[in-house]
Amino acid sequence: MMRTYAGHSTAKASNELYRRNLQKGQTGLSVAFDLPTQTGYDPDDELARGEVGKVGVPISHRGDMAALMDGIPLGEMNTSMTINATAAWLLALYIVAAEEQGVSQEQLQGTTQNDIIKEFLARGTYAFPPAPSMRLIADMIAYTVEHVPKWNPINICSYHLQEAGATPVQEIAYAMSNAIAVLDAARERIGGGHGEAGTQLMGEVFGRISFFVNAGVRFIEEHAKLRAMSILWEELGRERYGVEDPRLLRFRYGVQVNSLGLTEAQPENNVQRIVIEALAVTLGRDARARAVQLPAWNEALGLPRPWDQQWSLRIQQILAYETDLLEYPDIFEGSRVMEALVEELLGGARAEMAVVAEHGGAVQAVPYMKAALVDSHRERIRRIETGEQVVVGQNRFTESEDSPLTADAEGGILVVDPALEAEQIAEVRRWRSERDQAAVKDALAALAAVASEENASENLMTATIAAARAGATTGEWSRTLREVFGSYRAPTGVGEATATAPDEEMNELRGEVSRLQEKLGRRPKILVGKPGLDGHSNGAEQIAVRARDSGMDVVYEGIRLTPAQIAASALQEGVHVIGLSILSGSHRELIPAVMNALHDAGVSAPVVVGGIIPEQDVATLEQAGVAAVYTPKDFDITRIMRDIVALVGAGADRSPAVASSTSANGSA
């Protein structure tokens, strides 16, 4: 099956995009939701600011879902939804939209990503604490197995783990441990899986679990990784869950190839990388992907345009229809090299799975796994910085002719109209004012009752679908559950991260930091945070760890911060510099908002920004008062640190110790 991950702006605009893609020969839908929808906020929520319609489509209620799927026959469609914390809600809206088309839920086919553990570990779009989140997942599995039998309720994602720095062994081990946690929870939900009927039902559950994996550019090892995962999966099914039907034991996976390795420098090289990565998941038939999604060549620059996505679709079509890739049985059968590689990965993965099990399973081991990932990522960056790992066009062969691909006014990316957010806000308010309030109120009250501890044995799906039908919004559904479940902040993993082995450059930097400390009278203190809903915290985490290793005091607040929170922290903590990270494209709205909030709080500490910031936005940010902007091409973090130290030092020269102590006096 061939898809491209798509959706942006509004339900209507995305619907048009889907229809075009289906005409071009795409055989399924892959829906990208915007961050407010993914984290359970309506467009008019404070936290949604700057994010509405950015990385995907905003879906607030059944009206939006109906518009999104307008004219698309849901009875025939296979729809993959990248949705996790709010998956139960979006599936409910999809079921209701199908109902309105006269399609019953039994006919629906598709997948909800619904993997919350990787959200805690790598992607950050969680909404509820771990225990109730696992309950929602188990409820969905139990519901779909019975009522939406062709639906894949969950897609265990190792994709994002690799993006967060996982080694192949970690990717295998954490994905499998995650699957165990989900299956154990589901087994309990369906009554323990006892007896013949229980075993059969558990087999059905097992067979509905699919994976979403990553494939990096080391494509031989990546292929071995997938073979290892198939072996482990079958083993798990037989031994832990008593599944015997070979059909149900098949390791089914979809893939999106690696984005982490895509570069901003010489972005055209990403096309070659994507082709090679696609081979990793298609070469050997015994471990071939069921569905492949390829990123666009310019992902590290900003949001891809339809043309960029078409290019990625064509890569798949050439592999499938022009090459002889699909004509042979498994081409690695009998290969001793491949077998040995698979064995090695299996050994490593089993050992790491044992460590996770010792922590009490994947849910309990989230802090452990998070810290391990931050560590691996740190090591990866170190290898790129030192040149041990070659990235063509970035740390080697960097000379380049001017690129005609990025020469147009927008720099070769899609820009979402900022006016759209205001329209969506007006639209959701109109929706709320026109629906049957009493029905919504009753539906949400019923949802809250089912969610409470006393009713933990009831399935949340029925009440969720009822709320969707009644016309409740995404924000209302989530708020109702947050009030019952409580809110949650995932571990950041940075506190446990081991120190970087000091090299010469690092020692020099530490010297600079201690000289700066003398000058300031206090240890240089930096605030690192992510405004908005973007949960991709890898970059911010690495900055925080490196700042600590260079000798600074680091206030790291993690993801999902409002401008007011950042300003309050900067003021109260008396920081000397502020580092903000945004990858979702919402920097145009959020950075000026943070700058205003800092100004209002009387904070004069300089601000640096990192993330996926298109070239043409840099000047705008600098005008808003940002001191420096860093993008993926600035891969040398130690150099960024030296810039920051110099920046603070220059500020201290202008205002000596006592005066600088009072620069953030907050009397404004």
């Binding site: 009030e483 019952v484 479940f485 409580g486 809110s487 902040r489 950041t492 940075v494 506190g495 120190a499 000091p502 530490r510 930091v513 201690s514 003398e518 000058k519 300031l520 009278g521 206090r522 240890r523 925080a544 760890v545 700042a547 600590r548 290793d549 260079s550 000798g551 600074m552 005091d553 680091v554 206030v555 790291y556 607040e557 993690g558 409002t562 007011a564 929170q565 300003a567 309050a568 922290s569 003021l571 109260q572 903590e573 008396g574 000596p656 110790a657 006592v658 005066a659 600088s660 102590s661 009072t662 953030a664 006096n665 907050g666 009397s667």
Partner: protein, 324 residues
């Protein structure tokens, strides 16, 4: 070090005066100054503390200074979020000094705790400041003690949050009015430490996660029994649940209050200031300095002879004069 001339009256005195007038917005600047080790800033810090000394205030600083300590994972941050909300509902301003235990690596530290405390960032009545645990051995960072003294003049509640059991609450006991130790259900350390005398008896013991039921109740019972066998009748043992709906928080607020009401605040703080001055003096001048004063006992006598309303730097200065 800058060589720039000091403004008349000095920055430190100005900030101190604002705190004395209970201007909460002066707090961040006060902390920036008190944390600085630059000699010019230390002078200004002394001037700041003088402005908020009991002598300048005409009484002890009004805040209730509370130490909250406990092992990692005991649920301190969640508990503090709940306490913060309760105090704010009563209209009381709150400053929290979170002392991060993470050992400094290569000098740097990661301070992540404030993110775990849930509060309204636009609320001017709340201040949270994180600091790394002292670089010196033994005791809270100098800056944390000084900060508690200074902020107590302006805020209604000052909390010092530290991590650990056994050492941590003794360190914090010298600075605060009330020590609350937070215990997770089922963790035996606190019980063992209490019985073996490694740990001093706190003023309030809080058992968290009451929602997990049996184990929490048993932990509470065991602690109460241990306290009785040690002859302590005054220490309250409470259980709380910070999960929604929170429970036991109001009782805890009342218990903290009750402890302070039964306390001779003047006496406790005077003792704390004198102990603090001796610690600072010893850190600065070492054993040799103490010998020059005629030993620890003589130093204590010298401190006892000083005005009770003096702030710590003034007491240190008195000791230094005694050396000559």
């Amino acid at each position: 070090m800058s060589g720039a001339p000091r403004p008349q009256g000095g920055v430190g005195a100005a900030i101190g005066a604002r705190l004395r007038l209970r201007d909460l917005s002066a707090a961040p600047a006060a902390l920036n100054l008190l944390e600085s080790t630059a000699p010019v800033d230390r002078e200004q810090s002394a001037a700041l503390l003088k402005e908020v000394s009991p002598a300048a205030l005409g009484s002890e600083a009004p805040a209730h200074v509370i130490g909250v300590t406990g092992p990692p994972g005991a649920g301190k941050s969640t508990l503090l979020s709940a306490l913060l909300h309760a105090w704010r509902q009563q209209g009381r301003s709150v400053a929290m000094l979170a002392v991060d235990p993470s050992s400094r690596r290569s000098g740097g530290s990661l301070l992540g705790d404030r993110a775990r405390i849930d509060f309204d960032p636009t609320d001017r009545g709340v201040l949270i400041r994180s600091t790394a645990a002292g670089e010196r051995l033994g005791g809270l960072a100098w800056a944390t003690r000084a900060a508690a003294h200074a902020l107590a003049a302006a805020f209604d509640i000052v909390v010092i949050e530290t991590v650990g059991v056994g050492q941590a609450e003794t360190e914090v006991a010298d600075v605060v009015d009330t020590v609350a130790v937070v215990v997770q259900p089922g963790s035996g350390d606190v019980l063992q430490f209490l019985k073996s005398g490694i740990m001093e008896i706190p003023d309030v013991l809080v058992v968290t996660k009451a929602d997990i039921g049996q184990i929490a109740m048993r932990t509470r019972r065991d602690l109460s029994a241990a306290l009785r066998s040690l002859g302590s009748r005054s220490t309250r043992v409470l259980s709380v649940s910070s999960l929604p709906p929170p429970s036991g928080i109001e009782d805890l607020v009342a218990a903290l209050e009750e402890h302070r009401a039964g306390l001779d605040v003047g006496e406790r703080r005077l003792r704390a200031r004198r102990a603090g001055a001796l610690t600072d003096f010893a850190l600065e001048h070492g054993e040799r300095g103490l010998r020059a004063l005629g030993g620890r006992r003589a130093a204590e006598q010298l401190l006892a002879a000083q005005e009770p309303g003096l702030e710590v730097p003034a007491l240190v200065a008195a000791l230094e004069r005694g050396m000559r």
